[in-house]
């Protein structure tokens, strides 16, 4: 890969200035050789063929088709984020607002402080997911939190499931893990699909 320290060849600068001047419809700068001006004028013609109508039409049709596919990807991601948010709401809401009833139902010791903290965290993750469902660019950030949290809860759920008198909580946690992994995978595939074709980030 070519690199130059700050210095730029003055002849190259003059050629560049000539190109810019002629492109803008101005006269060539002082000092520009007439032969260079001729070459620049001819290169502008050689490199700017008119766009045929069939090319415009074909590209427009292709773009519309891709737009439709892009919309389906976006719909899937939004629905996935909303579904996962719903599962975190199902965990967080009773923890925060009905912790005693929840503990009794699950047959567990009631520690209000811990239930409320879990409720706040779960609802915060849910809120983040709902925001990301609206603004997909925020999805990677919230997934960085929601995915490990959900997987951790899912592992906990699988461990506790055989021993739970009422397994609803464990099943909810396993569901959170599955939904989060699916959403993460969908996002990864969507990003990879876009990055592969743009070449951004590829090594030269």
């Amino acid at each position: 890969m070519d690199r130059e320290p700050g210095h730029v060849d003055p002849h190259a600068e003059l050629t560049d200035a000539t190109i810019e001047a002629l492109r803008a419809g101005r006269s060539a700068p002082e000092g520009a050789a007439q032969s260079v001006v001729e070459v620049v004028r001819h290169l502008a013609i050689v490199h700017r063929p008119a766009v045929p109508d069939e090319v415009s039409a074909a590209v427009r049709d292709s773009a519309r088709s891709v737009a439709r596919r892009n919309r389906w990807w976006a719909v899937g991601l939004r629905l996935g984020a909303v579904a996962l948010a719903g599962l975190f709401v199902m965990q967080g809401f009773p923890s925060l607002f009905a912790s005693e009833d929840l503990a009794e139902f699950l047959g567990l010791l009631h520690e209000p402080h811990i239930y409320q903290e879990v409720g706040i965290l779960a609802l915060s993750v849910a809120l983040g997911l709902l925001v990301a469902a609206v603004r997909l660019k925020l999805l990677p950030g919230i997934l960085a939190v929601a995915l490990p949290a959900a997987i951790g809860l899912g592992v906990f759920g699988m461990v506790e499931l055989p021993h739970a008198p009422n397994p609803q909580a464990e099943l909810l946690h396993i569901g959170q893990a599955i939904a989060a992994v699916c959403l993460g995978l969908l996002w990864f595939l969507w990003r990879r699909r876009g990055r592969d074709v743009s070449g951004v980030g590829s090594k030269r």
Binding site: A12, H42, A50
Partner: protein, 168 residues
């Protein structure tokens, strides 16, 4: 400034077509490659980050990779000289005088042929600078070189082509 992909497409289709047309011989192949460029750009539009560079450089990087991929898939790969015979059908000269028109077409044909003999990087730089209408800084971003290096590539190419014009 936020812009839609449709605005990007409308603004840059002529430049991308010109760039692809100068890098891919054959009208129909160039049409297919141009379509591929915008298909790829549209698919990756959601992941474009303005903080990483100008949208023009982003789009022409996609065009550059698409052209490279097309040559890779072509049996026999890229020839040493870029074929230029097909370009003649696309240019329209507005000169009134038939004799001037003929002379102009002759010099254009010589120039096209000479461009095909330049170094690969010089051809790329010319296609981006003149076909794509990019500034030197953006040419550098697409090719992965500094702005100064991009200006040198174009200057070297123009210097070599001066001989073609004066020898005619």
């Amino acid at each position: 400034m936020a812009r839609s992909f449709e605005e990007l497409y409308e603004e840059h289709l002529p430049g991308v077509w010109a760039y692809v047309r100068s890098r891919v011989p054959g009208h129909h192949d160039a049409q297919d490659v141009t379509g591929d460029v915008f298909t790829r750009a549209f698919r990756s539009w959601p992941s474009y980050d303005p903080a990483k560079g100008a949208v023009e450089a982003w789009l022409y990087r996609i065009a550059h990779h698409t052209v490279v991929d097309w040559w890779r898939r072509r049996p026999g790969g890229k020839p040493r000289e870029t074929p230029t015979a097909d370009f003649e059908d696309d240019n329209v000269s507005a000169l009134d005088n038939p004799e001037e028109h003929a002379l102009r077409e002759e010099s254009l044909a010589r120039l096209r042929q000479a461009v095909g003999t330049l170094a690969e990087r010089e051809q790329e730089a010319l296609a981006l600078r003149f076909g794509g209408g990019l500034r030197a800084r953006e040419v550098g971003e697409v090719l992965g070189v500094s702005e100064g290096a991009a200006k040198m590539l174009v200057h070297r190419a123009v210097t070599k082509l001066r001989g073609v014009m004066t020898d005619g």
